[in-house]
Subunit: 266 residues, 3 copies
C-alpha cells in the first residue's frame, strides 16, 4: 500500500519553527507518511484566501489524502476544532469556514468535532492548536483511526458566506479573491458565466475595479497573445476568470488589492 | 525500522540552491532518510535566534533524529565543525553556541570535532561547509557510522552566554530573543518566574521596552481574551513569556526589535 | 532499489499552491518518489538565474535524478515543452535555454519534444504547463517510461547565448549572473582565468562595476580573512568568482544588480 499523504496549509510564514513542529509531531505518531506543504504564506487571518488555495489544490491529490489547514484567528477561543470526512479524503482544522470550499468540492460525508484527548498532545497550548491538536489528528487518521473516534458528529459547523458573483444584463459583478505571485488577479467568477453570455476568445470587454473608470481589454486564451505589458482577461489555472498582463504584474498596473469589487462589462 | 529523520536549520534563505545542495548530498550518501526543514530564514548570522528555534523544535522530533544547523559567520576560519551526541539524538554544525541550547535541553553525552575527511565531500569549499562537511556528517550518522568515527572528543566547545532574566523586587528584567511571523515578541522569561510572583491569568502588569515609558497590560490565557488590537502578555507555545496583540502585530504596535531589553513590572 | 528523486525549480514563489499542485500530480502518478525543491524564488521570467542555480545544483544529486524546471514566460505560446536525456539523468521544462547549462554540464544524449498526450493531464490549461505537462512527464519518467515515448527527438532546441567573460591584457570583463541571499555577487568568471594570470590568494586587484570607478580589493580564500565589512574577491561555492564582504552585504555596499557588467583589473 502507498504511504498516506498529509498536506499542510497555514498562515504561519516561513521564518519560525511552527510548521516544522507540526511535521515533527506527525512523524512521531505516524512515521510512514509523506508531508506536502501547500502554502504557509496565506495572508494572516485571511480565511478566504486559505479556503481558495486549499479548494483548488485538493483535487490534484490522491484519494485518501489528509489535508490540515490552519488559518485560525480564534485559536484558544470557543471555535471548535473539526475533522471533515469527504468522498475523497479528510480535512482537519478550525471551524471557521476555512475547510468548507474544499469540503464541498469533494463532497461532505460527515463533520466531527475533535474532542478526544487521547488523540491530542498531552499538553495543549492556548495558541498553537496546529501542533497540539490538528497535527496529531492528521497523524492518527493516517494510522487508520476511524474519524468517529475523534469526537461526535456535528451539524452546526460554519458554512462560509463568501460572496458570489451577480449578473445584471451585460455586467458581471464579482470580487478579487486572490492575487498570485505574478500579480494575476483571481476573481470569484467562473468562466461558464462568460460562455453563457457568448463571450469567446478574442471578444472585447471592459473591466472596472472598485468605483474606478472601466478599462478596455480582451478575453484571450493565454498571456502571450496580448502585447507585452497589456492587460488581458483569461481563464486561470484554478478555473476562475483572472485579470492578467503579459510579462507584467496586473496587480501593480491596476493598483488592485484582495477583496476589491470588480465588474466585467461585456 | 523507521527512516531516520534529518532536520535542517540555516540562515541561507529560500532563493538560492544552497539548501537543495545539502539535501542532494545527504540523499546521495543515505537515500533512505526523511529530511525536514526547520527554518532557512534565520536572520543572517543571528546565532541566538537560530539557537532558540532549534531548541524549541527538537523536543517534538522522534528519538534518534539528526539535526543539522548552520548559522556560521566564521565559516572557513578557525572555528571547529562539531557533532554533539545527546540523550535524544545528534546535533551537527559549527562550534559557535548555535547547537548548545538544544543540546543542553536534550542532555549532552559527548561533543566531537568533525575532522575525518572520509566522511566529508572530496572537495571542501572555503565558504559552504553546510554542503561539504555538515550534510555528509548527518548522512553518515544516518547510515549508522558511530559518532566517535568522525573525530576526537572535545571539551573546549563554545558554551553560549545568552542573557538570562533577572528579578529585582516586583520587576523582571528580560530580553526579546525572537519576533515571530505574527509580530509576537518572544522573551527569555520563563512563565515560572511570573507564577512564583503570584501572577495569575487576569493579573494587571506593566511592560517597558528599552528605556521607554511603561505600558499597562494584562496577563491572559490567549489572544482572543484581549480586545482586538490590544497588547497582552501570555505564555507562548515555546513556553516563554510573549508580548502579543489580539489580531494585530505587537512588534509593529510597540516598534520592537530583536535584542531589546524588556522589563515586566508586576 | 532506491526511490527516484524529482527536483523542482520554478519562479512560482512560495505564496500560491502552484508548487503543491505539481507535487500532487507527481505523487498521484508515481507515489514512490522523493521530491526536492531547488528554488521557487527565481526572479520572475529570469531564465539565466534559473539556469545558473539548476546547473550548480544538479551535480550533487544521485544518478537518475529527474529535474523539472519551469521559468516559462512563453507558456501557452509556440515554445516547445522538452525533455533532455543526459549522461546523469533527465531534465524537463520549456525550450527556452533554461535547462541547457545543466544539460551541457551533465552531457546531452538526446532532446525530445514532449507531445504524447497519454503522459499529460487530461485537461491542459493554457497557463500552467508545470502542473499539466511537466509534472506528469517527470512522474512517468520516474515510473520507467522510456524518454522516446514522450515525443520525437529534436535538434533545433534553444541553445542559450549567455554572455561569456573576455580577457584583454590585465582585464577580465564579466557579468554578475546572480546575487545570493547574503549579497554575494556571483560572476560568470571561472577561477581558472585568474589562476592563468598568476593571481594568488593575497593578490591585490581592482573591480569596476558598470561604468563606475574601480575599487581596490584583495583575492582571498574566505570571508573572515577580510576585515569586517570589507569587500573581497573569492572563489564561490558554485566555482565562479564572487565579490563578497565579510559579515556584510556586498550587493548593498556596491549597489549592484543582476546583469551588471564587471571588470576585474589584475
Amino acid at each position: 500500500v502507498n504511504k498516506k499523504i498529509v498536506t499542510l496549509l497555514t498562515d504561519f510564514g516561513l521564518t519560525d519553527s511552527y510548521v516544522a513542529e507540526m511535521k515533527a509531531v506527525i512523524l512521531s505518531i505516524c512515521p510512514n507518511v509523506t508531508i506536502i506543504d501547500i502554502s504557509h504564506v496565506i495572508a494572516e487571518y485571511n480565511i478566504r484566501m486559505g479556503a481558495y488555495l486549499l479548494a483548488r489544490s485538493v483535487e490534484y491529490f490522491p484519494l485518501g489524502t489528509i489535508h490540515v489547514a490552519v488559518v485560525d484567528p480564534g485559536v484558544g477561543g470557543p471555535r471548535k476544532p473539526i475533522l471533515v470526512e469527504t468522498n475523497k479524503g479528510f480535512l482537519v482544522g478550525p471551524d471557521n469556514g476555512l475547510l468548507m470550499l474544499a469540503a464541498e468540492k469533494q463532497g461532505i460525508k460527515h463533520v466531527y468535532k475533535i474532542e478526544n484527548k487521547k488523540y491530542m498532545l498531552p499538553k495543549i497550548s492556548e495558541t498553537f492548536h496546529g501542533r497540539d491538536i490538528f497535527a496529531p489528528t492528521a497523524a492518527y487518521l493516517a494510522l487508520g483511526i476511524p474519524p468517529q473516534e475523534f469526537g461526535k458528529e456535528v451539524f452546526d459547523y460554519v458554512k462560509p458566506s463568501f460572496s458570489e458573483p451577480k449578473i445584471q444584463k451585460n455586467k458581471i459583478f464579482g470580487e478579487i479573491i486572490h492575487i498570485d505571485h505574478f500579480g494575476n488577479l483571481v476573481t470569484n467568477i467562473k468562466p461558464e458565466l462568460l460562455y453563457e453570455k457568448k463571450v469567446e476568445y478574442g471578444s472585447h470587454l471592459k473591466i472596472a475595479l472598485g468605483k474606478r473608470k472601466p478599462v478596455k481589454t480582451v478575453f484571450l486564451r493565454t498571456y502571450s497573445e496580448a502585447p507585452q505589458g497589456k492587460i488581458l482577461v483569461m481563464v486561470g489555472s484554478g478555473d476562475f476568470i483572472e485579470i492578467s498582463a503579459n510579462l507584467a504584474n496586473a496587480a501593480k498596473l491596476l493598483n488592485a488589492k484582495i477583496g476589491m469589487k470588480i465588474i466585467l462589462i461585456l
